[in-house]
């Protein structure tokens, strides 16, 4: 986990999702994989909730090294409530704005190796370092971009006909 590489990646996610999703027909962005799974719209809402409540707030808990270093449990369904009535374009703007603010905060901290090794307490996973938290922020972004494209690809699962055999993303 090299901090400048981590920031370089985190800075790109809003523009990546913007390039992929903005102004696409709802047929792409509002469909899910069935059964309460997430659409692209839901995923952007989830990323916004993470900007507000997860990464930087948890990093602050670690950096403060107070008596209680236990993170708040993360609400995986908050976006259902928080995204209601918003357009995808609004969500993309909100995500870009919050991410830029959070990266400004992160850069401003000029974290040392010592600070990156400080620990917090994950409610389920136990002790975790700030370095692991920041690496997870990146992997979480990338996993959700992968999920977004997979959910969209599945809309053509039948349409590709026999090519389905060659497209593992359609059956993942």
């Amino acid at each position: 986990m090299e901090l400048s590489q981590t920031v370089a990646l985190l800075a790109r996610t809003p523009a990546t999702l913007n390039a992929l999703l903005r102004d696409l027909p709802d047929a792409w962005t509002r469909q899910n994989e069935g059964d309460g799974s997430w659409s692209a719209f839901d995923i952007v809402g989830h990323l916004i909730h993470g900007e507000r409540t997860d990464w930087i707030p948890r990093a602050r808990i670690v950096l403060t090294q107070g008596a209680n270093r236990r993170f708040e449990p993360y609400d995986r369904f908050a976006q259902v409530r928080e995204s209601q009535g918003k357009s995808l374009a609004e969500l993309l703007d909100e995500f870009a704005r919050l991410r830029a603010q959070n990266l400004a905060t992160l850069r401003g901290w000029k974290l040392s190796e010592r600070e990156l090794a400080l620990e917090g307490e994950h409610p389920e996973l136990g002790p975790v370092t700030l370095r692991q938290l920041l690496a997870t922020w990146v992997a979480h972004d990338l996993g959700h971009v992968a999920q977004t494209t997979r959910v969209m690809a599945k809309q053509y699962r039948e349409a590709v006909g026999p090519w389905r055999l060659y497209l593992p993303v359609l059956d993942r």
Copy 2:
């Protein structure tokens, strides 16, 4: 497979990969998943090769309805040779240029339902329609964007520590 939705998606892939990859450190873009697997750099090369030899050339074979409608087998390793000595920025530019040309060709055809139902012969899969070919073009794009982010996420498989449990993309 609705043609305008297909084109809307295909038009976004170059900008999506550009937003994700341009000017990222090589540590992100040149690493693979081990054992001859592909890096982000290799994947963009593969997409370029598809623009040159796969989608539109195969669509032409179908539309011509000549005596031989069998597609040329696709070379999955052409990019190793063709990307040699190029920078990722050059590949991203080349992909964007070729994709824009190919979509201009596709739009220019103003395909009818009758034409979308015409068949070609896949060397392994047998008879396939033009409609299936175009749907596959989309799913192939999305699958490779998913792959790109997965390959990059794996660079942090160890760095995330115990969070690996929550990040299925790291072990896919």
